[in-house]
């Protein structure tokens, strides 16, 4: 009787078991290495392509600023949602986060940008401010002035028959200068971000 009681007590109050029961700790408070954290700089040279800022969905999360070492993206923690789109969008691999760069390399994926320009013809009064302000137009026809009258049909935006028309949408760089300069908020630029798979091309 006494022996079995002793045996039971010994079984119940095993030191390792008591330790485990009282001081158990499950998951360590660590972060796995593959976790997609706030993007970090890899040290490669930023060419001020601004693809990161274009891809970023969060307001005020990323800025490309000029430092003594050249251009550099800055991630604003508290705004960044860690989506990793800037990492994927950068053509130079300046940013990295988790395994994004590795998996892009193995899967041969990339992000492609295109832009869609919508003009609300009810609101547009054909002033041509957008066509004059557009920096792409400026490169094609530096002489363009008030009214946005087109001298060549190579232009991105032009006014014809009293309404603004986007002729060569594929030339748009998505700067949204036209939006800012339209007095009637008639023109809107939409960014279309597509993930593409390019088995042939080398990234």
């Amino acid at each position: 009787m006494a022996l079995s009681l002793k045996y039971y007590l010994k079984e119940i109050f095993r030191i390792e078991w008591l330790k485990k029961f009282l001081f158990a700790r499950t998951a360590p408070l660590g972060t796995p290495t593959y976790f997609r954290n706030f993007p970090e700089l890899t040290g490669k040279t930023c060419t001020h392509a601004l693809f990161c800022m274009m891809a970023c969905p969060a307001p005020g999360a990323i800025e490309v600023i000029k430092t003594p070492e050249g251009w550099q993206p800055r991630i604003h923690i508290g705004h960044c949602i860690r989506c990793g789109l800037c990492v994927e969008a950068c053509p130079n691999g300046v940013l990295s986060s988790g395994r994004i760069l590795e998996s892009m390399f193995y899967d041969n994926t990339a992000l492609s940008f295109s832009f869609r320009i919508d003009v609300d013809t009810d609101k547009c009064m054909g002033c041509g401010n957008c066509a004059v302000a557009c920096p792409v137009n400026k490169l094609i026809d530096a002489q363009m002035s008030f009214g946005g009258r087109a001298s060549t049909d190579e232009l991105l935006l032009m006014v014809s028959a009293g309404k603004c028309r986007a002729v060569h949408v594929e030339k748009c760089t998505g700067c949204k200068t036209c939006e800012d300069n339209c007095p009637n908020k008639a023109i809107s630029v939409t960014r279309l971000l597509e993930a593409i798979h390019c088995p042939e091309e080398d990234l």
Partner: protein, 151 residues
């Protein structure tokens, strides 16, 4: 340090009551706070107990971008919490408004405008481990020797 103070320090370090309030979020951060309760993270092993009574709470987790409906209510929730107390902003929303901080939205971030915030956990949403380590980091700073510091 008096014996009483030592006992208080010990008890407070092992018994942190947490209340959370969602002042207009997408529910993402709520789910991450909930995940802290799961066996994978198991916050009760650290002496943290989550319930939703501000009158019993020590730490208030604020989630969300502060919608107009909370204008008068968040302050009263905060005032109900007995001293010593601390508020932690969980996620980007209470820090910056996150994706909702655009023209013509009704939100009014940061939450620090409305109640004092002791710590911020950025992320959309933050990992449960980040929430946990924020609570564990804030608790000793606020609660240890509270009576001594107050004097």
């Amino acid at each position: 340090m008096s014996l009483l103070q030592r006992v208080k320090n010990f008890v407070r370090s092992r018994s942190i009551h947490v209340a959370y309030v969602d002042v207009g979020s997408c529910n993402g951060c709520d789910i991450e706070v909930l995940a802290c309760l799961s066996p994978r993270y198991d916050i009760e092993q650290y002496g943290i107990y989550v319930h939703n009574n501000p009158r019993e709470a020590d730490i208030l987790l604020v989630i969300g971008a502060f919608t107009p409906g909370w204008e008068d209510k968040l302050r009263s929730v905060w005032d109900k919490i007995p001293e010593p107390k601390a508020a932690i902003a969980i996620g980007n929303c209470p820090i910056s408004g996150c994706l909702y901080n655009r023209p013509h939205t009704l939100i009014d971030p940061p939450v620090a405008k409305h109640i004092p915030i002791a710590a911020q956990v950025p992320g959309c949403p933050p990992r449960p481990t980040e929430i946990l380590s924020a609570v564990l980091a804030v608790a000793p700073v606020v609660f240890k020797d509270f009576e001594v510091k107050k004097r």
